[in-house]
Symmetry: C2
């Protein structure tokens, strides 16, 4: 299709630019991008401005915690600088989103270490691309007694966990992994075999509810 025909489809270069920019975001196709752009057009101009400002400010001013690599507005993040967190426990995660997911559970009161990815030879991600040297440094220099690996339940996650285990395993340091198994509320018949198999392997002593 010639370029001029595409242009006339949108009837506005400004609209086409906005749709083009929005559709470069992950999971946003051109139809969704058009819907978003037309939505902003209907709304007050201040809405578009505050959206744009928040995105630019996020990009300009965001920091990553120099201890745990979590996203932060300050040099040391709110979790690392909170004296009520248990500094003996360190939870190793792939991503910032995993920190949020674990924080939402209210089941963990220790500190985090964000790797920024997992080892993935296919995509060319090697240990040196991850925040692993700072992890070993923390384990040596901080009061950490247990490292809990909360990595994705994939081959890459398992590989990364094994790599880290080999690297940090030593006396007086407990290394644990989060349990994998059937999700709470799931009927067993709908769980996949691998997960159900893992649930059976990793069974624990019955202790009531």
């Amino acid at each position: 299709m010639p370029k001029t025909l595409k242009l006339s489809e949108y009837s506005s270069i400004l609209l086409e630019n906005a749709v083009g920019e929005l559709s470069r975001l992950p999971g946003i196709g051109r139809k969704t991008a058009l819907r978003l752009a037309l939505h902003l057009l209907r709304e007050d101009a201040s809405r578009t401005e505050s959206l744009s400002r928040s995105l630019v400010q996020l990009k300009e001013k965001i920091m990553f915690c120099s201890k745990c690599h979590n996203i932060s507005d300050t040099d040391i993040c709110a979790i690392c600088s909170n004296p009520r967190r248990d500094e003996n426990m360190l939870c190793v995660v792939e991503d910032i989103r995993d920190v949020m997911a674990i924080e939402r559970t209210s089941s963990f009161n220790g500190l985090y270490h964000v790797l920024g990815g997992v080892i993935n030879p296919v995509e060319g991600i090697s240990p040196s691309d991850l925040n692993i040297s700072t992890l070993t440094h923390r384990i040596t220099h901080e009061a950490i007694k247990e490292v809990m690996l909360a990595l994705p339940a994939t081959i890459e996650g398992d590989t990364t966990g094994y790599y880290i285990y080999r690297l940090i395993n030593r006396e007086n340091l407990k290394v644990s992994v989060i349990a994998k198994g059937v999700a709470i509320g799931d009927a067993l018949e709908f769980a996949d075999e691998v997960t159900l198999g893992r649930s059976i392997q990793n069974r624990i002593p019955f202790a009531g509810v």
Copy 2:
């Protein structure tokens, strides 16, 4: 959940602001908003800037064609000002997106009139909220011989079409509606009864393919 706990979930007010702004867009929940914000953080700063700029420019500089109310970068849009379009044909649509959809078919070479909505008593949209007075003005003052109603196949669309028909119907003006029926490529067994019924009612003389 107290506000302070929510804040620590995001660990960054900048991130939380960006997620909040993004999730106010239609169809974007907080999880998607977070994914988009983290995507922008990984990308080059120029990406975020050009996205923001395109949205602000869209909102600031966009115009609506003073003839057909289509979105436009100029006072009269590219379709209305194109001398090769058939000025005897006028297609009435609900929305800017419908203009794009019809343009993509390459089946229509006339002009458009964008109503900016359809009559909807439940949502409080009455004829005076739509671009109907400019439509009757155009029909009186322009060389229009046929008005084709291409409104949504809903009760509101049908109501609006009927309202406009009653308003503009007069001698020497043809008023038509686009055909409703089974979609091309659809098996009859999967078409809903109403659509299939309409297809049968509106059958046309067989003329080969």
